[in-house]
């Protein structure tokens, strides 16, 4: 390994580390959304990838038809898709209260098939372009690499949102309710808190996070109906590694996995799609509950 390390100038390594961090930012926001939903609903949201895609399409629609531009889309798209999530929760997921949580996973899996299939039917499979916002075009030469402004913005925006979520959950009253809802919903209900409403909002918020990641991704990748369908599996692995224990766990694991994947792309590019699953297997052998998870 050392000789291989020497084979790459440190500049290349720094560049790849930074790129890994950028991808990790996406993993962080997506796994954070999954963690929020899982925390209150105990549901693994298989539709997360489809909702991420929906966020990107919403950005496209908002820019083209409402003329709000990228910055408007960054705010409106998550709200719109989050509202859609609330509808899903009220109409569908709500009906699964009291049955095995696995049914939630299956329901959202079906939902993902429907959403993605419909979008392929209407928008084709090669996707649509979304321009980089004017203010963030170009980039800066860091010496070891050329960093596009937009990628830098992705990291900043993701960290801001993750930080805000952490603050909301750990430092506010709503957050206290939410955490209490995870621990003991019946008791919380008895205290007069509207737990069903809380659950609905949590789902909406998790979905909005997915949509936010989708808007961030739109200028980087193509806005493609299938953009989330493979990503979701990787994010699942990230979540298993992190352990769904805490907000921080999701964020830290997301970023770390991005970096590990980035390094793999230099040393053994073919394995870069597999490395996260390998890490997952190792972590599970050593710590079945995941890195940040409470005991199983």
């Amino acid at each position: 390994m050392l000789t291989e390390l020497l084979g790459f100038p440190p500049q290349v390594l720094f560049g790849q580390l930074l790129l890994g961090l950028i991808n990790g930012a996406f993993y962080a926001v997506l796994s954070l959304g999954l963690a929020v939903i899982f925390g209150l609903l105990n549901i693994v949201n298989f539709a997360h990838g489809a909702l991420y895609m929906l966020g990107a399409f919403a950005a496209l629609g908002i820019t083209q038809y409402l003329g709000l531009g990228y910055w408007g889309a960054l705010i409106v798209a998550p709200i719109a898709v989050g509202a859609f999530g609330i509808v899903i929760e009220r109409l569908l997921l709500r009906r699964l209260a009291g049955v095995d949580h696995l049914y939630g996973l299956l329901l959202t899996f079906g939902l993902a098939l429907v959403i993605e299939g419909t979008f392929v039917k209407f928008f084709g499979s090669s996707g649509l372009p979304y321009p980089t916002p004017k203010a963030l075009e170009g980039g800066v030469n860091l010496g070891f690499m050329f960093l596009p402004w937009y990628r830098a913005w992705v990291v900043v925006a993701s960290l801001l949102v993750c930080g805000a979520t952490w603050f909301l959950f750990e430092r506010t009253k709503i957050g206290a309710y939410l955490r209490a809802g995870t621990e003991n919903p019946k008791l919380l209900q008895a205290f007069g808190v509207n737990v069903p409403l809380l659950t609905t909002l949590a789902y909406g918020y998790g979905v909005a996070l997915a949509a936010f990641a989708g808007v961030l991704a739109a200028p980087i990748t193509q806005v493609n109906p299938l953009m989330g369908s493979n990503l979701i599996i990787v994010v699942f692995a990230v979540v298993v590694i992190g352990g769904m224990g805490s907000i921080m766990g999701a964020v830290v694991t997301g970023l770390a996995m991005g970096v590990i994947e980035g390094l793999t792309k230099v040393f053994w590019p073919e394995a870069s799609a597999t490395v996260i699953f390998v890490v997952m297997a190792i972590v599970l052998v050593l710590r079945p509950a995941g890195l940040f998870g409470k005991t199983a």
């Binding site: 899982f38 105990n42 693994v44 569908l92 009906r95 699964l96 049955v99 949580h101 696995l102 049914y103 996973l105 299956l106 329901l107 899996f109 079906g110 939902l111 993902a112 098939l113 429907v114 959403i115 993605e116 299939g117 419909t118 392929v120 039917k121 599996i233 699942f236 692995a237 979540v239 298993v240 073919e270 799609a273 597999t274 699953f277 390998v278 997952m280 297997a281 599970l284 052998v285 079945p288 199983a296």
Partner: protein, 307 residues
Amino acid sequence: MNAKIGYLIALVLLIVAPFVIYPVFLMKVLCFALFASAFNLILGYGGLLSFGHAAFFGGASYVTGHALKVWGLPTELGILTGAAAACVLGFLVGMIAIRRQGIYFAMITLAMAQMVFFLFITAPFTGGENGLQGIPRGTALGAIDLQDNLNMYYFVLAIFVLAYFLISRTVNSPFGQVLGAIRDNENRAKSLGYDTDKYKLLAFVLSATLAGLAGATKSVVFQLASLTDAHWHMSGEVVLMTLLGGLGTIPGPAVGAGIIVTLQNYLAKGPLGGWVPVVLGLIFIVCVLAFRRGVVGEIKAMIRKSF
């Protein structure tokens, strides 16, 4: 007694079916029926949702294809080699996965299967995207030409009936009963002195092996092994088949597989051509919301009510 008569009727129907319905289509149904029945062993009777069974199904089809095409093994031996490979893979995945339950178990099996999928894309022996093509069907017992669709059909039917018998025996054996006890209350089973992990692993390996048997047979019928069979969508499809037919009923998954394969076959050719994934998704949603007992489960409940 009633069940026995039902099975006898079903068997007779299956024997005359290829004279009425296109045999290759029937073989596809049988392969998926076996796959779903094997899957039901771990989901319906073990209570563990595996979202990675495509790895065993697809993995065995590659190994069988390779054994028949490159090593030139006889057909029966080739299929057994595929099932054996699925057994080994099932043991490896199971070792890691049974450490967790519920949703974690689902996600771990999914991720492990995805890892296997990437291996299949890059490994030279699978032919990558192109798949393994032109797998010879060969002969059964060294004499019966399997290139003939009707001969092939009865060969597949024999495999299916044997495996189905094995599954129903397993479910009704003491082993199956302990498994059911673990599903319903693992802690109680543990306190009764059962090594629950061992039981779960054994069930998982058996399920993987039989899923592999189904994949191996399919690769011989269609003379090809491709990435489709190993993709996580396939893992989702087999959940759908089992759920639609009836979780934890012995004939349920086979019925579900029959419905889904028929649907896919006719939808693809009709005006709804490109809508197959959407229709499958809708069935999924309806099943989960309103129809959790599945077709066979609902019929059973109806019979119970009316008598």
